[in-house]
């Protein structure tokens, strides 16, 4: 074989944090090639993608608007992935959070008070949690693969949302558009910066980062999650309940995703429509891995991923390139980070295998 992997005696800490940077570098390089192939000036295109969206205060605020739901979802997924619990259904949990929290805003339309918003956040989180509880129950009770069930439930959630906004919840004065009426003032998250769309959801995301960090780095529960994820046998020997780890992962992940969804409808959107998320729940999977399953890293990765969403929009507006380019870059980035991760545990050598010295 031309490519050989020689195990390192010890995992490289330097590369554990270096590999996302290598991956980002390779993604940028692919970007140069891709834009070149599309007949664009690669440097102009890259500037439009990565720099231009955040070269104004409004742009920076937009970065926060997009990073907030990504961070919330990704923190939840991180906790699960650490425990080897594969919650792939953040998109559905986000949608349910938006439906439940948003539904509350619609139910109390015209009779809002200051109590409404906190209640919406709570109900949104509970909605996401309930949706996450289904795969947890099916996994712990019936041994059903959580990847498949959580993903299937995402498709169900999106159809459910479609049903509501096309049917019973459609705005009676909305000229038959599939959207609900606009939420009342008291049902909207307060803005953090006047003149931008940055809302209090960003603060909730930061709180989630802090709590996630506390849980994983400084709590016994976090320790149990990590042991259960890395060495199931050891965890069982220590008497840690695997089922509890599964439940916890899904409840936290679902709850945070639900709050993310509520943040979208009570934030920049102000109503429910059929497409609440441009795939935040799926992109959050990338954020979790890119951020090294570490809450602070996840925050940085979410900011980068948010920039990629903004960059795609900027390319579309300024260079007339398709929005789908964002998905290509995000997929490439995850590929590259997974490939670069091999360097943490192995040295890559070229050339045929040599005989190993006798022990």
């Amino acid at each position: 074989m031309l490519l050989r992997l020689v195990p390192r005696p010890q995992a490289s800490q330097l590369l554990r944090y270096g590999s996302p940077l290598i991956a980002l570098g390779l993604t940028l390089l692919s970007g140069l090639l891709l834009f070149g192939a599309l007949g664009q000036d690669p440097l102009v295109a890259l500037h439009t993608f990565f720099i231009r969206p955040i070269s104004s205060l409004y742009g920076l605020a937009e970065l926060g608007v997009k990073a907030a739901p990504l961070t919330l979802c990704a923190i939840g997924l991180t906790i699960g992935f650490r425990g080897n619990v594969w919650n792939i259904g953040a998109e559905g949990q986000l949608t349910l959070g938006a439906i439940c929290g948003g539904g509350l805003a619609l139910a109390f339309h015209g009779q809002e008070g200051p109590w409404l918003l906190p209640l919406m956040v709570l109900v949104g989180g509970l909605g996401g949690m309930a949706w996450g509880a289904i795969p947890a129950l099916l996994k712990t009770r019936f041994n059903a693969n959580e990847i498949l069930t959580s993903l299937m439930l995402s498709y169900v959630a999106i159809q459910l949302l479609g049903y509501l906004v096309h049917g019973p919840w459609r705005d009676p004065e909305g000229y038959n558009f599939p959207e609900t009426r606009l939420f009342g003032e008291a049902a909207l998250l307060p803005l953090l910066l006047e003149g931008t769309r940055l809302h209090a959801g960003a603060l909730l995301a930061l709180i989630a980062v802090g709590l996630g960090w506390l849980l994983l780095a400084h709590s016994f529960m976090g320790f149990q999650i990590k042991v259960s994820g890395q060495a199931d046998a050891a965890a069982r020997y220590a008497g840690f309940s695997r089922n509890r780890v599964i439940w916890l992962s899904f409840l936290i992940g679902g709850g945070l995703a639900g709050i993310a969804g509520l943040g979208e409808v009570a934030g920049p959107m102000g109503q429910l429509n059929p497409t609440i998320s441009p795939g935040y729940g799926f992109a959050a999977i990338i954020c979790a891995f890119l951020g090294r399953l570490n809450p602070l890293g996840v925050l940085l990765a979410s900011l980068l991923m948010a920039l990629m969403f903004l960059g795609g929009e900027a390319l579309q507006m300024n260079l007339n390139l398709p929005l789908a380019i964002t998905g290509v870059f995000q997929g490439l980035l995850l590929f590259f980070v997974l490939a670069a991760d091999v360097l943490i545990r192995y040295r890559v050598r070229l050339g045929p295998a040599v005989a190993r010295p006798a022990p």
Binding site: F142, T149, L151, G331
Partner: protein, 310 residues
């Protein structure tokens, strides 16, 4: 034929058409998993196959070329998955998810100019004499060539896995890669081949959707069928005959919800569209309930990376 019989025949024919992409995708994944590799990127590979086949057909005007190109495209992205998981030992679950995310993005990107482009899809061929048999004829012998191909592939895969020597080796690699390696088989080489086969089949499944079933290209047109096919492999407890059965069962569920709508049943189309997904969850739960059965039937090395020096 009375109208009732005609409806039943129409439902059965439509069921086979709806089930066929699942047959292709799940058979490919079955072979991949039998070699011990879990490729969760089925949805992504199908989309890449669907768009590649569609573009090739529009460009060359030839459906067979389009189908071939779809399979090649599926193999190319499968190779990417293989390189990451088999050569670079990346986590199979994460890489499969990456492949799906990448496939969704890539197919949406390259397919943008082809949305709404009309093509003449693959037509059904009537097998002489046999298609004239009442009832059986229309149900079994008036299909497009790819449906016959899917049945041939089913027979081929069943024979290969359980009656041929290479199939035995492939299963051995999936059960215990250390033992297979010890005997002198190339674990990685065999797994690459299995992954490539899975990619080709997923590409074919995608092509069936974009060239026969719909036939057109639209973003994300697989609508979760890749994931349903993954569930089917578990549901079938890794056995080809049950894969076939399961695929048609899901085809039937898809079709029934369409028929109900067509018959004017007053249920929202959005709610009816959830049926295949809910059904997937239900059968997955029913089959997984017996943990021992899953453990005994799943390839023992499924999802585990292999490094000869480790």
């Amino acid at each position: 034929m009375t109208p009732e019989v005609e409806t039943v025949v129409a439902i059965l024919v439509a069921t086979m058409r709806a089930g066929t992409p699942l047959v292709f995708a799940a058979l490919g994944e079955l072979v991949t998993e039998k070699s011990g590799v879990l490729n969760l990127g089925l949805e992504g590979m199908m989309l890449v196959g669907a768009v590649a086949g569609f573009i090739a057909t529009v460009t060359t005007g030839s459906l067979p070329l389009g189908i071939l190109f779809a399979m090649l495209a599926g193999m190319v992205v499968a190779l990417l998955f293989g390189f990451l998981t088999l050569t670079l030992l990346a986590n199979q679950v994460a890489t499969g998810l990456a492949l799906t995310i990448f496939g969704i993005g890539l197919s949406a990107f390259v397919g943008l100019d082809y949305i709404g482009t009309p093509i003449q899809g693959l037509q059904a061929i009537e097998i002489p004499f046999l298609s004239a048999i009442p009832l059986l004829g229309p149900v079994l012998f008036r299909h497009d060539p790819l449906i016959y191909l899917s049945l041939a592939l089913f027979a081929g895969v069943s024979w290969f896995l359980y009656k041929s020597r290479p199939g035995l080796i492939l299963r051995a690699v999936g059960e215990s890669h250390q033992a297979a390696h010890g005997i002198g088989y190339s674990v990685i080489g065999i797994r690459y081949l299995a992954v490539l086969f899975g990619g080709a089949m997923a590409g074919l499944a995608g092509a069936y959707l974009s060239l026969v079933y719909t036939p057109q290209w639209s973003e994300n047109m697989t609508a979760g069928r890749g994931w349903i096919a993954l569930a089917l492999v578990v549901f079938a407890t890794w056995r080809p005959a049950r894969v076939l059965l399961g695929a048609y069962l899901f085809g039937f569920i898809t079709i029934i919800s369409l028929f109900l709508q067509g018959a004017g049943v007053d249920i929202s189309s959005h709610l009816l569209a959830t049926l295949p997904y809910l059904a997937t969850i239900v059968v997955l739960v029913l089959i997984s309930r017996d943990a021992t059965r899953i453990r005994l039937n799943a390839p023992a090395s499924l999802g585990k990376p292999f490094h000869p020096d480790a």
